[in-house]
């Protein structure tokens, strides 16, 4: 691992920590329709765009572990799915799709929708709570939309970070 790669990875780690803090701190981000965004999903997806599939997967797993920690559920659920998603996105970004804002937003729509739908399915529906449809429409869908708003922000931040440090690396 080169020095600049180490710095980049450390910067990603700090970014994830800060976003986790922002996501969790009560009152820092306003609730819209009673929901607050999940910032770590767009962050993980954005990082996956600018890293190799393995590095992307590692940061996806880290973000997932933080999500598991925040939710207070069994560790590994979000880490598993987010890690796999980031690996796939890393492969696609390397070989199949262009890296730009449009593809980032499309990946964000798919990734956030998939991750939060899986969360709803495994952590709400299968637990047997009442009114799963209500929960999905009233809580999960607005959270998807709200989280997606942060995709351009995390995309441009990670793009700037990757380009800035890569230039020095080269």
């Amino acid at each position: 691992m080169s020095r600049y790669q180490g710095i980049r990875f450390f910067a990603y780690f700090l970014e994830i920590l800060v976003l986790f803090m922002v996501q969790e701190t009560p009152g820092l981000l306003p609730a819209v329709f009673g929901v607050r965004p999940t910032l770590l999903i767009p962050a993980a997806l954005s990082i996956a765009f600018f890293e190799t599939e393995l590095s992307g997967m590692a940061f996806g797993v880290l973000c997932g572990l933080f999500l598991d920690f925040g939710l207070g559920s069994a560790f590994g659920f979000h880490a598993l799915f987010l890690g796999a998603m980031c690996w796939l996105l890393g492969c696609l970004a390397a070989e199949l799709i262009r890296t730009n804002l449009l593809t980032a937003i499309l990946a964000g729509i798919l990734g956030i929708f998939l991750m939060l739908s899986l969360q709803w399915f495994f952590c709400y529906l299968l637990y047997g709570y009442e009114f799963p449809g209500y929960a999905y429409v009233r809580h999960y869908l607005p959270r998807m939309g709200y989280s997606l708003l942060f995709m351009p922000l995390t995309y441009y931040f990670n793009r700037a970070l990757a380009l800035f440090l890569r230039e020095r690396e080269d």
């Binding site: 820092l28 009673g34 920690f69 069994a74 009442e130």
Partner: protein, 306 residues
């Protein structure tokens, strides 16, 4: 690269290994609890969350002040300028001390009323957007907090500790669909107060309206709007006679003859910032132990979680 080749690469094999490891971690933490990974992540995140919460709370107070009219602000500003000189000498960690003082006052009141309680004061440092009506507090097992401890304020019941690591703990509030506790409606007016037991629970639709349900009331119930609901203490998780809320309405269950009461909790758990954890009290866990020994669960007998 050919798509089929992708599945034969080292990277794909690593992905499969990581997925298997995460599955094992999931099974392990579901079975034995996730204190070790939780401690590790908490080590990094809790200090930052503490600072973040402190900054946000102070900003919220500042924002509240900013919403006053211009004249009010000018007048207040003049008064404040006059007092700044006097206060500067005393203003050492004012906000921290004030907060601590308020916490200790509540602590003292509750301690005087319930000498058998062992209380730990804690602050809310996190509210996860992915979970329903839970929050994180800045005290964990190192401070004596353990899973199933009841969490209260001087206004009433807040919830219970659902998971804990050494420096923080997750509190599941009474608005969470996971919570079930024994409740008692105090009926009969001021002359002769009697208690009618039921089970407090809720669902997401009620929680979103800030309500909980006191279910399994008998068809002859005297409970009515305005009655106070307190903990029955039957499950051994919550002490007896802690205030929960006030009945707003009484209705018939859809599928049986019992009645239920909709209760508005005294504590707004979505806004609460400082709480107290009752780490021990007289009779704690008694019903749980006795039900374990008779091979029946506390929750099935009394309705209390877990």
């Amino acid at each position: 690269m050919n798509n089929n080749d992708r599945f034969h690469t080292r990277s794909f094999k690593i992905l499969l290994t990581v997925c298997a490891a995460m599955l094992c971690l999931m099974l392990f933490t579901a079975g034995f609890g996730g204190e070790a990974p939780s401690n590790l992540l908490s080590f990094f995140s809790t200090p930052m969350q503490r600072v973040g919460t402190l900054v946000t709370n102070n900003a919220a107070v500042a924002a509240r002040d900013a919403s006053a009219s211009k004249e009010e602000l000018l007048e207040e500003n003049a008064q404040l300028r006059q007092r700044i000189a006097e206060l500067e000498s005393q203003l050492v960690d004012y906000y921290d001390l004030k907060k601590e003082n308020a916490q200790l006052y509540q602590y003292l009141d509750m301690k005087e009323l319930n000498p058998d309680f062992t209380l730990v004061a804690a602050s809310v440092i996190g509210r996860d957007p992915n979970s329903f009506y839970t929050f994180t507090i800045d005290r964990g097992t190192a401070a004596g907090v353990s899973v199933n401890d009841p969490v209260v304020t001087d206004e009433g019941v807040v919830g219970w500790v659902s998971s804990a690591n050494s420096i923080s703990a997750v509190v599941t509030t009474i608005l969470s669909p996971d919570t079930r506790l024994g409740g008692m409606a105090q009926t009969g007016g001021t002359d002769k107060v009697t208690g009618e037991s039921g089970v407090i629970s809720t669902n997401l639709q009620l929680s979103d309206q800030g309500l909980i349900k006191l279910g399994y009331l008998t068809a002859e119930t005297q409970a009515e709007a305005g009655n106070i609901v307190v903990t029955s203490g039957l499950g051994g998780i919550y002490p007896q006679n802690l205030k929960i809320g006030v009945i707003e309405s009484v209705g018939h269950e859809e599928y049986d003859v019992s009645l239920y009461a909709l209760v508005r909790p005294f504590v707004d758990v979505t806004e609460v910032r400082d709480v107290m954890v009752i780490t021990s009290f007289l009779g704690q866990g008694e019903a749980m132990q006795s039900s374990e020994s008779t091979a029946g669960s506390a929750s099935s007998e009394t309705g209390e979680t877990p």
